[in-house]
């Protein structure tokens, strides 16, 4: 279906690590890079993260922001060959397990845990339980929609919750809330990506280059300790429904790769393979790699060094350092 | 004895005078027919007798005492429509009055009391010629049968006064003749005073002991608001009809005769009304 084309659609949803995409579109950075490569890029904001992935999976978008886990379980499991173009950040505290009236993770045993089922929160819970020798059998998971988490936490029957920012910081401010485990305890496992349809990307390398150009220009601006940087952070804060201070607090719990070289190093490190293995095992346990999948190997995952985890004949999820490398080399 | 006394009654709606200085005494067991052009206030007058509306001025006495301020079981009513309850069977419609009076909490009777009441209701239905229809709903009855049912329902309460607002206006002529006979018999047998509004003069002469006409004496457009209707004619039907006794007059109506033939036998004597010097247009035979 893909062939050389000049118009591309990118979807992004409101989350701390993806706010730069909205800012880039508004500030003209997107158009600047698109013009440079002679293409057009339409950037669409979603309030609903899942809907953005669904739209991408159904083919309405060429690229979308998502996490490594959702990339594997949704588009890849849905037969859409997907390549991670940019590793934007990983969560270093943005996702957390919160207990009411206890600072000890072990106390979670026997409680109802409210979280978005099958999301990264679910994964974080599994890892947290692992870390104290518990398993999911020891708790009861209750699916709860993310916009309502703050209200939910204030009800009497909710005593344990797993969620992400900005909700985490809102809840942390409430009396009785204790962060007992967060993503900084499993650094580098929850990764925020910009992915693109592999076919589209192969046929249109310029699209990948433009995405990389946009990202690193914007990221450099937003981490800068200059008035322009502050203004950008304030704008991103406002767009996500808070203010500059609130947004900077969220950034603090995010390991943002503003420097392409760091991102390349992260992507090439062998830890990525380990992480993806954890994740595919988790997904397979939950039956999320497709109905009737015989093993965690059904979907092939290609790492940047071209090694493939799982079925080499069914590679649907790929990590590529190519475009980040170009940025690092200043070759865009 | 005087059942109803109306003393100088006025009724105004906002600025509009509907009725003015109406004076009337109705004897016990009288059958008063109230006639008059459309919109002259007949229904309004009946509503005041019912206690549904208060006169603006003047007063109404019932058996010598002031009229209660709201409708009650001493005054029964039958309208042209909406007089029976569509959700009750024929039997239920006749039983509901005594049930409501006897069971103030649930409005229902059970066991022996219920059976006795049903018996009473059945004989009342037989009276009005509805035997055999006990389990039908009103919507399954013809218009004439519905009005019979409404009569039976009202009579179960043994009201001192029965008020009728064009009760037979919507019926076919043939059916109307039948129900006239029934009405006459009931009035003869049940001790009650009747006030009936009608548009049909012939009906008035067929049934009533006395015919009272309301009329708007000043009816030019600019006078419409400021002057209301009042009692313009008051006729005693002759030969006089007396409740419980058959008169030669009544023998005129032969069974099976259709209304084309039962005509031309009504006469009346005019009583003095306060307004009779103005009254010119009221046709009387």
């Amino acid at each position: 279906s893909a062939e050389p084309k000049s118009e591309f659609k990118v979807g992004w949803s409101i989350y701390v690590g993806w706010m730069p995409w909205g800012y880039a579109a508004e500030a003209g950075i997107v158009d600047k890079w698109a013009d440079k490569y002679g293409i057009e890029i339409e950037v669409t904001q979603f309030n609903d993260y899942i809907e953005s992935i669904n739209q991408y999976t159904a083919g309405a978008y060429d690229a979308v922001t998502l996490t490594n886990m959702d990339g594997l379980s949704i588009p890849a499991a849905g037969g859409v060959d997907t390549t991670a173009v940019i590793v934007g950040d990983f969560s270093a505290g943005n996702d957390a397990v919160i207990l009411k009236d206890s600072a000890n993770l072990g106390d979670i045993a026997g409680r109802d845990v409210n979280l978005v089922e099958f999301s990264v929160s679910h994964y974080l819970l599994a890892r947290a339980l692992d870390s104290v020798g518990l398993s999911e059998r020891d708790v009861k998971v209750i699916n709860t929609a993310d916009p309502d988490m703050v209200a939910a936490f204030q009800t009497r029957d909710v005593t344990a919750m797993v969620t992400w920012n900005p909700i985490v910081s809102e809840i942390a401010a409430l009396p009785g809330a204790n962060l007992v485990f967060d993503s900084s305890d499993i650094p580098g496992e929850i990764i925020d990506l910009m992915v693109a349809n592999t076919e589209v990307l192969t046929d249109n390398p310029d699209f990948g280059k433009a995405l990389a150009g946009i990202w690193y220009e914007t990221a450099a601006l937003m981490v800068a300790d200059t008035p322009e940087g502050a203004a950008a952070r304030a704008a991103m804060g406002a767009a996500s429904g808070t203010d500059q201070a609130g947004y900077e607090a969220q950034l603090a719990a995010t390991r943002l790769f503003a420097d392409p070289a760091e991102a390349v190093a992260f992507t090439l490190s062998p830890d990525l393979g380990t992480t993806m293995d954890h994740i595919r095992t988790f997904l397979f346990d939950k039956g999320l790699l497709g109905a009737g999948a015989p093993s965690a190997d059904v979907i092939g995952i290609e790492l940047p060094d071209a090694t493939v985890m799982g079925d080499a004949n069914n590679v649907k999820f790929r990590f590529s350092a190519t475009y980040m490398q170009l940025a690092a080399d200043g070759a865009l | 004895m005087t059942a109803i006394v109306i003393e100088n009654v006025w009724k105004e709606y906002g600025d509009q005078v509907v009725l003015e200085s109406v004076n009337l005494s109705v004897e016990t067991r009288a059958f008063v027919a109230l006639v008059g052009p459309s919109g002259c206030g007949k229904t309004t007058f009946l509503r005041m007798l019912l206690g549904q509306e208060k006169p603006t001025r003047g007063r109404i006495l019932l058996d010598g005492a002031a009229l209660p301020p709201e409708p009650g079981p001493d005054r029964g009513v039958v309208y042209q429509r909406y007089s029976v309850f569509p959700h009750l069977t024929v039997l239920g419609n006749v039983m509901i009055g005594p049930e409501l009076r006897g069971a103030r909490l649930l409005g229902r009777r059970f066991g022996a009391a219920r059976r006795a009441l049903a018996e009473e209701a059945r004989s009342m239905l037989a009276e009005v010629g509805l035997a055999g229809n006990e389990n039908k709903y009103p919507a399954q009855l013809s218009g004439g049968m519905q009005q019979r049912l409404a009569l039976a329902q009202a009579l179960m309460m043994k009201p001192r006064v029965l008020l009728l607002d064009e009760p037979f206006g919507a019926l076919d002529p043939g059916i109307r003749a039948d129900i006239h006979k029934l009405m006459k018999r009931l009035w003869n047998e049940v001790p009650m005073t009747v006030v009936m509004v009608t548009h049909d003069l012939r009906e008035a002469f067929t049934l009533a002991t006395r015919i009272v006409a309301f009329e708007r004496l000043r009816d030019r457009p600019e006078e419409r608001l400021r002057y209301g209707a009042t009692l313009s004619r008051d006729i005693d039907v002759w030969p006089p009809r007396i409740a419980g006794r058959t008169t030669i007059y009544d023998a005129d109506i032969l069974p099976g005769q259709d209304d084309l033939t039962s005509l031309g036998h009504s006469f009346g004597t005019t009583r003095q009304t306060g307004a009779s010097e103005h009254a010119t247009r009221f046709p009387h035979p």
Partner: protein, 272 residues
């Protein structure tokens, strides 16, 4: 002959009536086939065989984790909430609708606030509902109640107020008190309308149920739809949506039949 006078026969009606359904199925099959030719893993418009497999899994295979048959446990969870919500709404409506329709004082007191409240979008107030009532069954049921009751009350009190004044007067001449008028004259005539009102509110009630289950639940038709929406599992969503529609249609017909059975006199007047 004018088109307005051309009545199709019984068979023609049946054929005509099923045409649109057939068309929908055919359009779906064509669209699905096209998309699957492009991407055999496409999840948006699955093939019929995928539906069969999903239905098999959801309805006839015990879940690995809980051992329950998911479709049935979801259905019971949802219907329980729905019926509880509609039942409570019906009772509230009877009380409030009757009081508003019968008593002028209560009408003056409550009619304005109910007209206003019926315009409040209930979904926006969910956080308050949760905190007041917790995340359990109560808040889901209450959301349905809040969503449908104002409409039911308005509808019923209008019906009650439009009962002929003559009928009420008549009851008074039969010695009825206000309470007895409400109980024996107004209530029985309001009931059939209440049932029809409930039928009209089935759609909205399902909507609120799904919205509530999407927010927090561990079983239910809406819960399942929103859970599998994460994976765009339209092979499960479509059968669930069809199932919900069937349930709603069945309840609609059932309530209609019930009304005809209990209140045979209702509508007789109009039909004469």
């Amino acid at each position: 002959m004018r088109l307005i006078n051309r009545h199709p026969g019984r068979a023609a009606r049946l054929v005509l009536g099923s045409l649109p359904f057939l068309a929908i199925v055919l359009v779906y099959l064509a669209a699905s086939a096209t998309r699957l030719a492009d991407n055999p893993g496409d999840k948006l418009l699955p093939a019929l065989s995928s539906f069969a497999r999903a239905i098999e899994t959801m309805a006839f295979t015990p879940d690995r984790r809980t051992g329950a048959y998911l479709l049935w446990s979801d259905t019971w969870a949802s219907l329980g909430r729905l019926w509880a919500g509609l039942g409570i709404s019906a009772v509230l409506t009877l009380i409030a609708g009757l009081a508003i329709g019968v008593l002028p004082m209560v009408r003056a007191l409550l009619a304005p606030v109910i007209a206003f409240v019926s315009m409040v979008p209930p979904l926006a107030l969910l956080p308050i509902l949760f905190i007041a009532l917790g995340l359990g069954e109560t808040s889901k049921i209450v959301l349905i109640v809040i969503g449908v009751t104002p409409f039911l009350i308005r509808d019923l009190s209008l019906t009650v107020a439009s009962l002929p004044r003559e009928m009420i007067i008549k009851a008074e001449t039969l010695s009825a008190s206000t309470w007895l008028i409400a109980l024996r004259v107004v209530l029985p005539q309001a009931m059939p309308r209440l049932i029809d009102g409930l039928r009209l509110q089935l759609g909205p009630a399902f909507l609120f149920l799904i919205a509530a289950e999407a927010i927090s639940a561990d079983a239910g038709l809406g819960y399942r739809i929103f859970l599998v929406r994460r994976y765009l599992s339209m092979d499960i969503i479509f059968p669930y949506v069809a199932w919900i529609t069937l349930l709603a249609v069945a309840m609609d017909l059932g309530l209609g039949g019930l009304r005809r059975l209990i209140f045979p006199w209702w509508g007789m007047e109009g039909r004469r």
